[in-house]
Every structure is written in structure tokens, then in C-alpha cells.
């Protein structure tokens, strides 16, 4: 009978405790992202005229509110050690369904809950397939992505403009304070972030998410509801994607089956740059917010520079991913 071999005990020199301030190991990646963000912002302010305008910073939120919401859902999934490739397609499906129904004069009060329900249902279904039939998350959500994207194209072949009164007012309404403004989408995104951060940090389901990501077997043996939690994170991600889709349709005022192509990569990149381990169990929602800001800031800098082509965004994001993955590797190696 083979039993689990105990992990090899390694002789490591015990770190001598210094008096110097040492940040908590878990916080290092987030602090690194924060430092990077400050550095990038400093470089931007130093090099470009008008960069220091607070509105520039607020515009990053305005332009990326939907990404922020999607990345929040992705954080939940990645914290459990899973992945959700379907987010971009669900965002697109939401915009298309909303635009189509609004075009048929459905009241926004019906359309809004309906699209959120569709997104949540897709997430729920993927979660069930992943949990009950032990299909790897990568494949199950890939199928979800194909399904949602295919449905988009089935519903509409081209972009549909949205002219509904509620939608246009949500798109144009600006909260002004002291000469600056943000859109209502930003408020919604911030509320989502706050709720999600609270859920992750202070509620039972949040603890369960971290526990499953750390070690699903142990979580199961401890009697935690692994199945329920795992299914709910995909439902949460589906809901966040649908909400992100609603925000995107506020922003774009159109539904297009080609919206949000590759959004899943941006969301994953934001989560990873935000210091969350892709293997799950470690990370903070605040890091994800910083990750989204980093992505937004890269685009802003490239716009301000003017001479750089759009593909530099991808190269820089790739480089940053590399740097952060390396950093995490070093941190986790030291922590062990």
C-alpha cells in the first residue's frame, strides 16, 4: 500500500530576524505592482505635457470600467486555481442580446436583469460541467467561449446601435466634481470591486475560495463545500462578465459580436500583474485593480507618446507579465 510520501525536508538557514521593515511575503507582488504603477505614472508626468491632469487618471477608470468588472470575476476563478476563457465572449453576447432586445423596444428594466441572468447561467453551467464531470476548466470555459461567441454571430452578423433612452443617459451621464468627471459605469465598477473585496476578505465563501485554491483536497477533507464554491465562482465570473458587457454597451452604445475580442487575455493579464498566483490560493482583489490600472496606463502612455504603434501595448504587457511571473516565482521560492 502506497501512502503519500512526506514532503522532503530541506535544510534551509533560518532567516535572521532584522529590525528593518519587511513587508508580509503575501503582499510583495501587490506592492511591486503599486511601485510599478507609481513609476509609470511618474515617467508619464515627467515626459508628457498634460499627463499630470487628474482627469487623465480618471479617464483610465472611465475607459476600463468594464475590464475592471470582468477582472474581478476572473480573480475569483483564478483564486480557486481555475481559469475562465469565456469572459470576452460573454461580454460580447451581453452587448448583442441587449442591443437586439432594446432594438425591439423591450423595456430596459427587463433587458438588464435578463442579460445578467444569461451571463450568470452560462457561468453556472460551466461550473457544473467542471465540477460534476471533472472536465478541466480550460476546456469547459473554452466550450463556453465558443458557445457564447457562436450565439452572438447567430443573433446578429453586424454591430447594432443602441438608441434606448436609459442606455444613452447612462452613457452620457457624468458625475462632476471640482472640474473633473467620471461616468456612472465607474461608480458601478467601484461598487462591484468593494463588494467583491469584502466577500473575499470577510465572508465564508471568500475563505472557501482561498482554501480551495490553496489545496482542493485539504479543503474537501476539512469539510468545506468545495463543489458549491467552485460552481459559484464560475457563476460569479459569468455575472461579472455580463455586467462588464452591460458597462461596455453603455460605453460603446452598440452591440457587436466582435466586441471584446481577446478580453479574456487582458483580464488574465490584469489578475496576474496584480499579483494573484495562477495556481490559485494567493492574491488580492486590490492587486487586480492595480493590474487593470497598469494596463490602462500603458495604453494612455502609448497614446500620449503618439509615435508608438498599438502593437507596442502587447509587447509591453508581455514583458510585464514576464517580470511579474519571475517576481512571484522568486517570492514563492523564498517563502517555502
Amino acid at each position: 500500500m502506497i501512502t503519500d510520501t512526506p514532503a522532503p525536508v530541506q535544510n534551509r538557514p533560518v532567516a535572521t530576524k532584522g529590525r528593518v521593515y519587511r513587508p508580509n511575503q503575501r503582499h510583495i507582488p501587490v506592492l511591486a505592482t503599486l511601485a510599478l504603477l507609481a513609476l509609470m505614472y511618474g515617467l508619464g508626468v515627467a515626459n508628457y505635457e498634460g499627463f499630470s491632469d487628474t482627469q487623465v487618471l480618471l479617464n483610465i477608470f472611465v475607459d476600463n470600467a468594464f475590464l475592471l468588472v470582468v477582472a474581478v470575476g476572473m480573480t475569483f476563478v483564478i483564486l480557486t486555481g481555475g481559469i475562465d476563457l469565456s469572459v470576452g465572449a460573454v461580454v460580447a453576447l451581453t452587448t448583442v442580446v441587449a442591443a437586439t432586445l432594446l432594438g425591439k423596444d423591450w423595456p430596459p428594466g427587463v433587458v438588464l436583469p435578463l442579460v445578467l441572468l444569461i451571463g450568470t447561467t452560462i457561468g453556472l453551467a460551466m461550473g457544473c460541467i467542471i465540477h460534476f464531470f471533472e472536465i478541466p476548466p480550460f476546456i469547459a470555459t473554452l466550450a463556453g467561449m465558443f458557445l457564447a461567441r457562436g450565439l452572438c454571430h447567430l443573433i446578429s452578423k453586424e454591430a447594432i446601435p443602441i438608441t434606448d433612452g436609459f442606455w444613452t443617459s447612462m452613457a452620457q451621464e457624468r458625475l462632476r466634481f471640482g472640474g473633473f468627471f467620471i461616468s456612472l459605469s465607474v461608480v458601478i465598477a467601484v461598487v462591484v470591486v468593494l463588494i467583491a473585496a469584502f466577500v473575499l476578505a470577510y465572508t465564508r465563501i471568500g475563505r472557501n475560495v482561498y482554501a480551495i485554491g490553496g489545496n482542493a483536497q485539504s479543503a474537501l477533507l476539512m469539510g468545506l463545500p468545495v463543489g458549491r464554491t467552485r460552481i459559484s465562482v464560475y457563476a460569479i465570473s459569468g455575472f461579472c462578465s455580463a455586467l462588464g458587457g452591460v458597462l461596455l454597451s453603455f460605453y460603446m452604445l452598440s452591440g457587436d459580436p466582435l466586441h471584446a475580442q481577446g478580453l479574456e487575455l487582458d483580464a488574465i493579464a490584469a489578475v496576474v500583474i496584480g499579483g494573484t498566483l495562477l495556481s490559485g490560493g494567493s492574491g488580492f482583489l486590490f492587486g487586480t485593480v492595480l493590474g487593470v490600472l497598469v494596463l490602462g496606463l500603458i495604453q494612455t502612455i502609448i497614446t500620449f507618446q503618439g509615435t508608438l504603434s498599438s502593437w507596442w501595448t502587447r509587447i509591453v504587457i508581455g514583458g510585464l507579465l514576464f517580470a511579474f511571473v519571475l517576481l512571484q516565482r522568486l517570492v514563492t521560492r523564498r517563502a517555502r
Binding site: 481559469i83 476563457l85 460541467i129 460534476f132 464531470f133 471533472e134 472536465i135 478541466p136 480550460f138 476546456i139 469547459a140 473554452l142 466550450a143 463556453g144 467561449m145 465558443f146 458557445l147 461567441r149 457562436g150 450565439l151 452572438c152 454571430h153 447567430l154 452578423k157 483536497q217 459580436p257 487575455l265 488574465i268 493579464a269 496576474v272 495562477l278 495556481s279 504603434s309 498599438s310 502593437w311 507596442w312 501595448t313 502587447r314 509587447i315 504587457i317 508581455g318 514583458g319 507579465l321 514576464f322 511571473v325 519571475l326 516565482r329
Partner: protein, 365 residues
């Protein structure tokens, strides 16, 4: 890791006569369901195009829908081949699409810079350079995974994101068109009535299959995928093996990129190989390779790649908007994955057994 493989023994005892034993082994073969789906798709096509199976000789080339499917499948077969070996070691390579784009872009750029784009030597040099670059990219992936110890999915995500940008940087965001007859041969040429791309893919698949199944290499790969730590303790050089499969995957992707760009005589950094990594993973999974590593089937992957392209062509011939293919893909993925999932089989057979004889309840997990 903890995925139990379903052996014949673990199935609950059945009171069926021995006659059904053969039937069961056929049904239980891991390539049965993919093959059944392919046959169903092909036969279904006949209803829409009665001449679907006819292959004729025209201008010394083979023509026909089946040949078209094979030709269209070659990039995916090659990419899937590399992906299969990577997944066999428990890894994954998301960067294949980007590597395809880079290889095509570099080759086309070099050829367009040639004084005479029709010189065979120049084209060979360009192709060689592109493949060398692909090898270097594969080495980068391999080093990150094998030496850096970074999770494969994230290690290759880096090149997936950055590589797409690099490919656009190489082409300067434009589509590079080349007029080079020697280059066109790779993707659109024929040798002895057979498309060159099919021959290239066939050679690669055959060579890989021979190398992997006629030597201990395949066993070693599966062992690394099953448990890297145990393999290392058993004296297998897991690191070198992992490094090699990523380099091989990138090489396959590079050749696929050349075939793709040569077929259309142009290179598009933005769209070449877009989302092919997902199709390749799909092909691998359809073919019965476990995503967790430790079990793989090259024949299955080839079958999977052909299924995906047959699906594409079927949707075209039936006259459904091409993007709706995604919907069918989703259905095929879900159905195949469920059929291959041990827990779904247990559940399904549990339900089946529950219905006629309630006394035999239980057994299903």
C-alpha cells in the same frame, strides 16, 4: 494528477453475454467517439453535396472536398502534433499562434527583401531563418517552464501576448504580400498529385509517431506528464524532455505558419494563427489526450484536427454563416469531453442501470 484511468476491470460486472465483449472494446477504444463523429460529419455532408466523396485528377492535381479538408487541416495538424507532446508532459503551449504569425512574417519579410523573390536559394534561406527563429522562441518557452519552473500556461501566455505584438512589429502592422513561386510551393504546391503541405504534415506526424512509439521516448514523456518528481527520481531527465517538447511545438508552429502564409502568399501579423492555440488544444482533447498529462494519442490529435476542419467546411457547404461554426464546436467539445469523462460515464451508466432494475442501484459515483 488524481485522475483515475478507467480500466476494463473497474467497470462493474455486467451480465451481458460474451458476444458483446468485442463490441465493448470497440466502444471503449478512446478513438471510437471521435471517429464516429468524423464519419457522421462526412456522411452528413453527402446529403448537401452528393459529390462530396468524389476525388478527381485535374491538371495533375488531386481535387475534391476530402483533399480540401486535408489541405486545410495541415496547419492545425502540425500545431496539434506539437501541442500533443507538450500536453503529454502535463504542460500547455498557448504561444503557438503567435509563433505561427512570427514565422510567416519573418519569412515573407525576408523574401520581399530579396533582389529576386523567385530564387530558390533565397527562399530556402528565408524559410530556414524563420524556422530558426521559431526554435529560439520554443527554447524561450522551454527554459521558462523547465528551468524557471513557471507554470506552462502562464509561461507561454507571455509569448502569446508579446509574440502577437512582435509579429506586427516585424510586418510594421501591414500585410506583406510576396510573389515568390518557390515559396508558394510550401503551402499551395503539389508533388505527384498530392499537396506539398499534406506531405510535410504527413512526414512530421509519421516521424513523430515513430520516434515516440517505437522508442522509449513516448513512455518517458507520459511518465514526466504523470509525475515529474517521480520521473526525476527514476532517473529520467525531465528537464531536458520538457525543454525538447516546447522547442518541437514551436518548430511545428513555425512550419504551420509558413504553410499558412505561403498558401495565401502573404503575412498578416495580426490574424495569422489567431486562436489556433485553442483549436489545437481542442483537437488534442478530442483525440483523447488527457489535459492533465500522462496519456496522449498522436493519431487522436490528427483525427481531432480533421474533425474541426470538416466541421468548418460542412458549415460552409450547408450555407450557415461561418462564424456560427463556433456554436457547433462548442457542442462537439462538450459532447466529446463528456463522453470521455470517467465521471460522466459512471453517472450515465448509473442512470441507465437505475432505470430498468432498481435493485442494482448504487455503484455510480
Amino acid at each position: 494528477m488524481t485522475q483515475p484511468t478507467v480500466s476494463e476491470r473497474s467497470a462493474p460486472p455486467d451480465q451481458t453475454p460474451e458476444k458483446r465483449g468485442m463490441m465493448r472494446t470497440v466502444l471503449r477504444h478512446r478513438l471510437f467517439w471521435p471517429a464516429a463523429v468524423l464519419v457522421l460529419l462526412l456522411v452528413g455532408n453527402v446529403f448537401f453535396t452528393p459529390s462530396f466523396f468524389s476525388i478527381r485528377l485535374q491538371d495533375g492535381h488531386l481535387y475534391g472536398s476530402l483533399i480540401d479538408i486535408l489541405r486545410a487541416s495541415t496547419p492545425l495538424i502540425l500545431v496539434g502534433l506539437g501541442m500533443t507532446l507538450v500536453i503529454a508532459t502535463g504542460g500547455i503551449d498557448l504561444s503557438v499562434g503567435s509563433v505561427m504569425a512570427i514565422a510567416g512574417a519573418v519569412a515573407c519579410l525576408r523574401i520581399s527583401d530579396l533582389p529576386d523573390p523567385n530564387s530558390v536559394g533565397g527562399v530556402l534561406a528565408a524559410v530556414g531563418f524563420a524556422l530558426l527563429l521559431a526554435l529560439v522562441l520554443g527554447l524561450w518557452n522551454g527554459l521558462l517552464v523547465a528551468v524557471g519552473g513557471i507554470q506552462p500556461i502562464i509561461a507561454t501566455l507571455i509569448l502569446m501576448v508579446a509574440g502577437r505584438g512582435l509579429a506586427q512589429l516585424i510586418t510594421d502592422g501591414q500585410i506583406i504580400n510576396v510573389r515568390s513561386d518557390p515559396y508558394r510551393v510550401i503551402g499551395a504546391g503539389y508533388v505527384l498529385t498530392v499537396p506539398v503541405s499534406v506531405i510535410i504534415a504527413g512526414l512530421f506526424v509519421a516521424a513523430a509517431a515513430l520516434l515516440v512509439r517505437r522508442s522509449a521516448l513516448g513512455l518517458l514523456l507520459e511518465s514526466v506528464g504523470g509525475s515529474p518528481a517521480a520521473s526525476r527520481l527514476a532517473g529520467i531527465q525531465a528537464r531536458t524532455l520538457i525543454l525538447t517538447v516546447y522547442v518541437f511545438a514551436a518548430l511545428c508552429a513555425g512550419i504551420a505558419g509558413l504553410i499558412f502564409s505561403s498558401n495565401v502568399s502573404s503575412a498578416d501579423g495580426n490574424n495569422t494563427g489567431n486562436l489556433i492555440e485553442l483549436d489545437a488544444i481542442l483537437a488534442v482533447v478530442i483525440g483523447g489526450t488527457a489535459l492533465t498529462g500522462g496519456r496522449f494519442s498522436i493519431a487522436g490529435t490528427v483525427l481531432g484536427a480533421v474533425i474541426i476542419n470538416t466541421l468548418n467546411i460542412t458549415v460552409y457547404t450547408v450555407g450557415i454563416p461561418s462564424n456560427v461554426t463556433l456554436l457547433f464546436k462548442a457542442v462537439v467539445v462538450v459532447v466529446l469531453c463528456l463522453l470521455q469523462s470517467p465521471s460522466f460515464r459512471a453517472w450515465a451508466s448509473g442512470v441507465k442501470r437505475l432505470l430498468p432494475t432498481p435493485s442494482r442501484a448504487g455503484g455510480a459515483a
